[in-house]
Each structure stands twice: as C-alpha cells, then as structure tokens.
C-alpha cells in the first residue's frame, strides 16, 4: 500500500553540502500556497499534524489527491507546534496499545518516508513511583504492556539512580522514590518537522494546503455535506473531515453536531539551553510533571492540564507553580535554571481520554478528535486511520474501538485512569 513520494528535490547530506557551497540559497519552498479552488473531492479542516497526515495518507495510500487542507492560521500553529513531543505506547488497554504501538512504529520510519528529518529519538521514558501502591499499579501496567508485546520493565531505585544521577532519590526527599518503570521505545520527535514533513509530502502528491482560511459554516444538501463557507468564500466538496483539536465542538457545532469533548488548556515550558544533563524522558504522576531535554539543550517541561474549560491558549499561574514545584522536588539542581518561554494549547478531552475517529450524523462529514493531551504521538496512525475512514467509510483495523458508539454503550476505553500525567 502506498508508493514513495516523488519529491522534486530530495533532502540528503549531499544536497545539504552541495547547497552549502552556494550559501544555502535556492532551496525550494516546502509547499505551494495555491489559491483555493471552487471544489475538491475531500476537504480537511485543520492543518495540524492529524489533518496533514490524513491528507498525505489519502493521497499516498488511496490515490485520492483532489484534496485541500484548510487551516485558519498557519500549519502546525495549533497544538502540534505547542506540544512537549513525547512519543510513547505505554497504554493499558489492548485497543489503545495496538494503535499507539503502530504509531510509534510508523514514527520509526517517518523521516525516511517523508524525506524529512523529524529527529525521532527513542531515548526511553522513566515513570517514577513513590509508594508501594503506585509501584504495584506500575507492575500491573508493565504486565499489560508486555502482554501487548510492548517492551516495559520495572526499575528499582538503584536502577533509577543509574539512569537519573541528578534526581533526588534520598530518603529525606519530600516523596522518597521507591522505583519506577522503563518504556524503552518511547522518546521524543521534533514537532514542527512532523507538520512540515507531512505538508511537503502531501503537497508533492497534489494536496492543496490553504493557510489563513477559516471554516465558518457548512452547507448541506439532502442530509449530506456539500460545501464549507470560509473567509475565502465557498468551497465545495464530496467529503469533509474535521481535525481541529480544541476547536472540535466549535467547528462540529457549525454543522449542528454535538460532541462529548471538552476544551481545556494544557501548558508547557522550556528553559534556557543547558549542557546535556538528561538523556531520557522522566515522568512523575505524583509531582504532576514530566521533563526531557531537547537537542538544543532546553529542558522541555509539562504537567497536568488546567482544570477549567478554556480557549484562551494561556494557562493559569497556579499550574505553572505546581508543575515547577514538582520538577524541583525531583531535580533540585534545576532550581537556578531560568524558564525562557511558557505557553498553552487548547486540548480536546473526551470523558475516557481516548480519541474519536468516526463519521458524524451528517453524511460525508467525518471527525478525528479527542486527542487531548497526547495526540502528537498519534499523528501517523491517526492520519492513516482518518484517511481510511474517509476513503472506505469504515474504520481501519487499528482504530475500530475509537467510535462514538462507546459512549452510548458505556464501553469506555478509560485510559485517563491508566495513564496519569503522561502526555
């Protein structure tokens, strides 16, 4: 399924070196900026990772190339460009494990597939435990992961001392650490590169990427969607898909569709760049914090989402204080490090913290939502799944559990309880 993308100019070390001799000028634009056409076969609303990956898979896997991605701002300017880039598959339930494991495996091949360095680094993720009970729950989680074929192992406090020499593991710490677990195939990737890589590949396959175009309404005919209204005029389509994260209820609401989704702020912070101090991702549910060090040397820090409904894209100071307090309890040595930037994204949370990829009650209108605080890792598999749904009017084998029906049946996939703070 799917061929490789016929890029006009491929990126490689040799190409970089050659362009270096000419002062790195003459690189082509990564994608075109076409005028919107009157109609497309498929319109995708939202130029985040999920929308762009969906367009790429429609074009590559299913030969549907008469496609436009409509983005009200700039691509990747939503949560995809605001996230803390943790990629992992340490989920509890088989349905989630299978889906997220597929996504991690797709990430492994993504730099090659897109001919774009997404800097995927499987540096491993350590999750810390601070009571025997928490450690017992981790053992249960590790067992579930191993049964699902995902490498995971319980760590003793001594193991953690070797992996995290700067972490305060002393008995006098406010919360003395008793162990943890390692998810060795987890890691980080470069968020902008994921958006740009998919955009360039989709554009090469014929997809139009329309930035600064905002969807303001839907038109329907005989119970079927037939067009969207935008600030750049009406654009007709046979099928439309919504992939707008925190704005899901707002956009679906334009079509009269209700969603079990709430929008809340999730914040993140980066520090000034440091010499290498941390070569693994560290998470602590008890401290409501997680941290990794980027290739530029910045500490990338995240925590819990703010608890109230919000579209403000800036968070509450209480959350900043709580997250940094937890970080400093774990790593007292970071107390002198200055934060450089802080920001918030509007995340789309479902009651069970699992996503929804499904058709809607309006024929021809599809949606991918509920990615919440953890949908960056899901971009490859989520894009493939939504593209499959649009092309075949049915879920693919990895995402069939992620439909609306589970709420009516009460068959929730409650990963909120299973995954704690980790994004």
């Amino acid at each position: 399924m799917g061929e490789s993308v016929p890029f006009k100019k491929r990126f490689s070390a040799a190409a970089l070196f050659g362009a270096g001799l000419r002062g790195q000028r003459n690189w082509p634009a990564l994608w075109r900026s076409p005028e919107p056409r009157k109609t497309y076969q498929v319109l995708i609303i939202g130029g985040g990772g999920h929308g762009l990956a969906t367009a790429y898979h429609l074009a590559r896997d299913w030969g549907i190339r008469d496609v436009a991605v409509i983005e009200k701002g700039w691509i990747g300017g939503g949560n995809t460009g605001r996230n803390t880039t943790v990629v992992r598959s340490n989920y509890y339930y088989p349905a989630s494990a299978r889906f997220y494991q597929r996504s991690v495996e797709m990430y492994q091949g993504l730099s090659d597939a897109l001919n774009f360095n997404i800097m995927f680094s499987q540096r491993g993720i350590v999750t810390l435990a601070f009571s025997p009970h928490e450690l017992n729950l981790m053992a249960r989680q590790v067992n579930a992961m191993q049964l699902n074929g995902i490498a995971a192992e319980i760590l003793t406090r001594d193991d953690i001392a070797r992996l995290l020499p700067h972490c305060d593991l002393s008995a006098t710490a406010r919360f003395p650490c008793v162990g943890g677990f390692l998810h060795a195939s987890g890691g980080t990737a470069r968020h902008d590169a994921v958006a740009w890589g998919y955009a360039r590949a989709a554009d090469t396959l014929g997809v139009d990427i329309l930035q600064n175009v905002e969807v303001l309404g839907f038109e329907q005919m005989g119970g079927r969607v037939c067009a969207v209204q935008t600030n750049a005029g009406r654009i007709g389509a046979e099928k439309v898909a919504i992939a707008v994260a925190g704005n899901s209820t707002v956009v679906a609401g334009l079509a009269g569709i209700d969603l079990p989704v709430r929008s809340q702020t999730l914040q993140a912070f980066v520090s000034e760049p440091l010499k290498p101090v941390l070569d693994i991702v560290v998470m602590s549910g008890l401290h409501h914090t997680y941290v990794s060090q980027s290739d530029k040397g910045e500490l990338v820090i995240g925590g819990d989402s703010d608890t109230m409904t919000s579209y403000a894209q800036r968070g509450s100071f209480a959350t900043i204080e709580r997250t940094t307090t937890g970080l400093l309890e774990l790593f007292p040595a970071f107390s002198r490090v200055r934060l450089m930037r802080q920001w918030g994204g509007t995340v789309d949370l479902t009651p069970d913290r699992s996503p929804i990829i499904d058709r809607t009650s309006l024929d021809g209108l599809y949606i991918s939502t509920g990615w919440g605080t953890g949908g960056f890792k899901a971009i490859p598999a989520g894009g493939a799944a939504l593209a499959h749904f649009i092309a075949h009017d049915a879920a693919d084998e990895y995402s069939s559990a992620f439909t609306f029906d589970r709420f009516r049946r009460g068959a929730l996939l409650d990963e909120g309880a299973a995954s704690g703070v980790a994004h």
């Binding site: 079990p260 109230m308 409904t309 403000a312 509450s316």
Partner: protein, 86 residues
C-alpha cells in the same frame, strides 16, 4: 491566577477551589431515554463564550456553587446561585 467569588467567603485565589466543570442538567429519571442519559453523562457545554460552571471551595468553606465565566477572556460574572450543589 483567577479570583473566584465564593458566595460565602468572597473573592479568593483560584488555588483554593476545584473547577467542577460546566453545569449539566439532570434528566428526569423516569422519562429519560438512552440518548438523554448519554448526553447527561458525557456531554457538557463547551462554547467559546460565557459558561455556567460549578466550583467547589474545597480549601475554604467546602461549598459548591455556580458562577458565570467567559471561556476566552476569563471574565467572571457574579456567583449567581447560592444553594449548595445548585
């Protein structure tokens, strides 16, 4: 940090409270069908704009009350329902 106007204690810092989400009306237990129960359990108002939401003054008087808050600007209207759990 937001200041939340507790009807009993006056304006207090956000960290003393738990946000309990938008107010959701309970369906009539005798008449509600599956769709109504599903909506009650899983759906909540989520608009850009004014919301009515529950707040719990957990580190204060312990009361649950309702305020109006704007989901984009964070402006807060007065606490408009004084009954606990209203």
């Amino acid at each position: 940090m937001l200041q939340i106007p507790c009807p009993w204690c006056g304006p207090r810092n956000e960290i003393e409270f738990l946000a309990r989400g938008p107010v959701v009306a309970r369906p009539d237990p005798d008449g509600a069908d599956d769709a109504a129960w599903t909506a009650f359990l899983y759906r909540a108002d989520n608009q850009r704009g004014w919301l009515r939401e529950w707040w719990l003054h957990v580190h204060g008087c312990g009361q649950l009350f309702v305020i109006r808050r704007h989901s984009v600007t964070d402006e807060i209207g007065p606490a408009d329902e004084m009954a606990p759990g209203a």
